[in-house]
Symmetry: C2
Subunit: 215 residues, 2 copies
DNA sequence: TATTGTCTGTGAAATAATTCACATTGTGAA
DNA sequence: TTCACAATGTGAATTATTTCACAGACAATA
């Protein structure tokens, strides 16, 4: 039962970005937008934008471009396929706290509903509107709350173990901030955000006066 | 004078990852490694690893593979082209603090030497071994310290203004954590780390049982 | 010293992603 | 109405990236 997405990772990234930009525009009263305008905001080309939007099936008109609200709807129909997933975060350090407060403010369609740590001093509290539990209760809380995604913000040494705990509890998608790739079963999706590598990348390409590596 | 790197962004990312993995291995006494072993650690294929390492010019031997220390040297020769750049961070919120303490611990070749904020309560302190200044002193400190890279960890609304301050002060590379692409001159390199998009990506591909989108 | 098996380095092939370029379309103005 | 224009949607071409697959190399073994 391994259906594959017909849309590539790169395209999904861009669609998510377009949606955020469009929501912002919509918030300030804009109604229509042309592909070249959206391209300018997203730092890419109009051809790329049109190609991406093609996949949503929504079609604009030559004279007015795209209707912003409708476009947001169409993108969302692809991105939020089956409802709003619930998320658990493990590792209530500086970074974990930063992410908790970040997501409590601007709440997109994604909700962090529980946080975990092994340090008793950090548990049984509420941070950024999110209850903090001891990691030993992970499986139980995940089951009760219907959580499907996990965020790992523990140090590198602990990351794999947390990932194992997560997959054992039935989590099917993991966003990993630890600087080490995770070994997980085939049916679990992972992505890693690697701050050090990102900096090294910028440091490298800066030397070549090369712009916009990524966005 | 716009020389371009002969190595792609993707490859640089992987080389940086390899280097970290290799340093770790070296730290625990490993001496040699085969391409398929490194591939396993990095979640990719042996052909990919060999193709990437080709670019460093270092060549392994069939029976022993690659000499780890030498390989680290070779990768570093490409990644750290002209010395260790100094970095400034702007935005001493949760995320800023997280990054400061993260980089003070595990210090790679990159050093955050100054932090900035507009909130007087956050300045004139030392966090993670890094002195915190008021943003109004940015240009001055950058000049005095010889800072070339910047990290933006302010909210979305303030990001572009900070980027302008940075480029005005002569910063030539920016890592941006605000969820909005920056407009900068052509000679300034930027990359963006977008936590929300990363989560949306994982949420999306999880539905397709699709593994390892990235790493 | 000869043999064996495994791993490297790399052209060539395959696949993926982006850009080009243009026929088509819808709208505002005359 | 009709015209002219500016923007869309999309095949086709281009460019980038990954994978295949195999000749050559080299250490261990006998």
């Amino acid at each position: 039962m391994k259906r594959n997405s017909d849309i590539s990772v790169r395209t999904i990234e861009r669609l998510a970005l377009y949606r955020r930009l469009l929501r912002d525009l919509s918030g300030r009263g804009e109604v229509h937008i042309f592909s070249h305008q959206l391209a300018e905001l997203a730092n890419n080309t109009s051809a790329q934008v049109r190609r991406d939007l093609m996949l949503t099936g929504y079609t604009g008109t030559p004279r007015k471009g795209y209707e912003i609200k409708e476009l947001i709807e169409r993108i969302s129909a692809h991105l939020d396929l089956d409802g709003e997933p619930k998320i658990a975060l493990v590792g209530i350090g500086n970074l974990g706290r930063a992410i908790l407060s970040y997501f409590s403010y601007q709440q997109p369609t994604l909700k962090i509903v529980a946080a975990f740590d092994t340090d008793e001093n950090k548990t049984n509290r509420v941070i950024g509107g999110c209850r903090c539990h001891h990691l030993r209760d992970f499986a139980e809380v995940v089951k009760k709350e219907g959580i499907t995604l996990g965020i790992i913000t523990v140090p590198a040494q602990g990351a794999q173990e947390v990932a194992d705990t997560m997959t054992a509890a039935g989590i099917s998608g993991i966003l990993n901030f630890a600087p080490v790739p995770l070994r997980v079963p085939d049916n679990v999706c992972t992505d890693r955000i690697d701050i050090t590598t990102a900096l090294e990348k910028v440091a490298y390409f800066t030397k070549f006066n090369q712009k916009n590596i990524g966005n």
